[in-house]
Amino acid sequence: MELIKKLRIDNDLGLHARAAAKIVELSRKYESELFLRRDDEEVDGASILSILTLACPKGTEVEVRAVGDDSEELLEKLSELFKGKFGEKK
C-alpha cells in the first residue's frame, strides 16, 4: 500500500542532523519504505545523508511517501514526530 502525506517542519532548527536521525531511526522500525520529497527532489527516508541534503529549514512542507504493508502506522508515527518538533523544545 502506498500512502502520501504532507508534513510541515515546525522546530526552529529545521531538519538538521538530530532530527534527520530520528526519522531514519523510525523508518528502520518498519517494513515499509519511506521517501521524503521537497519540491522536485525525493530522497530515501532511511538515509540520514540524503535527508540532510534536502536542507529543510523551519516552515518547509515535506511530502512523505510510505510504500508497504505497515505504511499507515509509519506515517502516523512520522506525523507525530514532526508535530512534536522531533522532541525539541523549540
Binding site: D12, G14, S47, I48, L49, T53, A55, P57, K58
Partner: protein
Amino acid sequence: MRKGQTAKINKLEGIAVSPGIIVGKARLVDRSRVKILYQYLISDKQVSQEVERFKEALNTTKEQIIALKNGMPDQLKQHAFILDTQLMIMDDGMLSKSTIDTITKEKMNAEWALKKSIQKIRQLFQQIDDGYIKERINDVEYVAERVLRNLAGKEVESLSEITDRVIIVAHDLSPADTSEMNIGKVMGFITDVGGPTSHTAIMAQALEIPAVVGLESITQRVQDGVLLIVDGNSGEVIIDPDDDVIIRYQEKQLELERYRSSIDRISHLPAETLDGHRIAVQANLELLEEVVPARDHGAEGIGLYRTEFLYLRSRGVPSEKELFEDYKELAEIVAPAPVNIRTLDIGGDKFSSDLNLTREMNPALGLRAIRFCLKEPKIFKSQLRAILRASAYGQVRLLLPMISGLQEILDTKKILKEVEKELNNKKIKYARNIKVGIMIEIPSAVTMADALAKHVDFFSIGTNDLIQYALAIDRINEHVAYMYQPFHPAILKMIQHVVMAAKNAGIKVALCGEMAGDPLCAFILVGLGLDELSMNAQSIPMIKKIIRSISMKEAQADLEHIMQLETAKEVRKFIVKRMKPLISELDEKGYYIKVS
C-alpha cells in the same frame, strides 16, 4: 645575539581563545591521511573477499565509536549525539551500499570505492546553503578516515591512551577528538586553524584550560614530546624554550594565578575612587547563562543586555512568550540591580528569510536596529511587550539602539504608549514609567545630545559604533582597522560633550563599548565623569581595582591636559606614562595588556 634570534624563531603568535599559561610536552595529533592506491580486482572471489573486508572494517569502526561513546566523560555527554550521527552515517546507503556496489560492479578495491562514495557525498553537500548542515560533511569524512585506517589494518591513533599530562597540538580538533581525550591529562590545546568561536575554543573554555588557535603551521613545526609554553592570554606559543624562559613563564603563571584571585577576591567591593566618587561597574551580556558568572565577577547590574541572540538562534522571529520568559528570568536574577535591555540591534536580513529583504551594500548604514523596528512595528511591539511584562519582576530599563535624532525617540514612545494601553486593557502587570534610555553611537546624536537629553531618562554611549561612524572606518576592513582609535581626540571630545549634556539635563550617562573594559581607558572615563561603565564580565575585577586606586581630582586634572592633545598617539603616550606603575605591575604578574 644568537640567543635572541633563536627566541624569535621559536615564538609563534596565534589567537588566544582561552586564558592561562602552561608549560608542558607536546602531543601531536597527526591524522595524516592514509594513502589510497587503486587496485583492480580480477576474480569474483577477490571481489567477494573485498566486500567482506570492507564490511569488517565498517564493523570495527562502529565498535570503536560505540566504545568512545560509552567512555565519554560526564562534562562532554551532551556531545554524544555527534557520535550517534556518525554511527548512522556508517549505516547509510550512500556510504555503505554505494561502496559495496562500486566494489562489485566496477571491481575496485574497497579503499578506492569508499573514496568514490565520499566524493559523491561531498559534491551533494557542497550544494547545500545551510552552513550547519554543510558542516556535517566533516562527520562523513571523519568516519571515512577511520574506516580507511581500519582497512589498512592501522591502529587508529587514540587520544584516550594519553598518560602524561600533555599539550595537544593538532591541525584542528573535532568534537569526536575531544570526546575521546583523557581530559584530566590535557593541559591545553594549540591548533593550526580556528577562531574564537571554533569548537577548540569552546571546549577549552568549558574545561578551563588555555588554548591558542590559528597558529597556521604549528603541526609542522612541533615534534611529539617537545617542550612548549602556551600563553592563552597573549596568544604566544614558545617551542623548545631554554631553562631561563621556562622558569620565567612558570613564575609568570603562578603570579598570574595569585594576582587573578587577589583581584577577584575584592571584586565585590564598590568601584569608588580614593576621594569617594562612585561609579557603577556593570556587565554586557549576550546570553542569560552569563548572568551568574557576571555577578560573581562583581557586576553591579547589567548595563547592556543584547537581545539579538534569541532572534538569531531561532532563525525566525521568536514569540513574545519566549522573549518574556528570557527577560523575566534575567530581571529576577539581577534584581535589585538594574538591567538595561537593548531592543533589537540588527537588520532584518540577519534572522529572517521570509521578510524578503535585499542584501544591502552597506549594512552598517542600512535598515537596522531602531530603523528596522520602526518599519516592522509588529516585531517591535512584540519585543516591547515582552520587556514591559518583564519589568514587573525586577529593575528593567529600556535601551534604544542607533538613535540618530529626536524623531525616532518620539516614534518609539508613541508605540510604547500603545503597547502599555494594550497591557492595561488586558490587565497584564508591568512597571509603570519604565526608564527609557538611548544609545549614543551616531555622531548626529552626539551633536543633538542636549535636545535628546530632555526626552529620555539616560544615555548609554556605545563607543564601538561611535568610533566607526565618527572616524568613517569599517572595522572589518583590515586596510583601515588600524585607524580604529578610542584615543582619537575627536572621540574623547564627543564623549565629553555627551556627558555634559546629560549632567546639564540631570540624567545618568553610561558607556558600554569595549573602551569601558580597557584598563588604559579607565583613567579618562573616570575623569570624564561617567556614572556607569558596562563591559564584558571578565574585565570587571580589573577595572574596579583601577578605579579604586585613583582619585577623581587627579583624573580630572589629567583629563584637562589630555583634552589639549591633538593626536591619538599623544593621548596614548600620555596615558601609558601616567599609568606606568600599574602597567608594569600587570606586566610583572603576567596580565596581558596591549599597550601599543
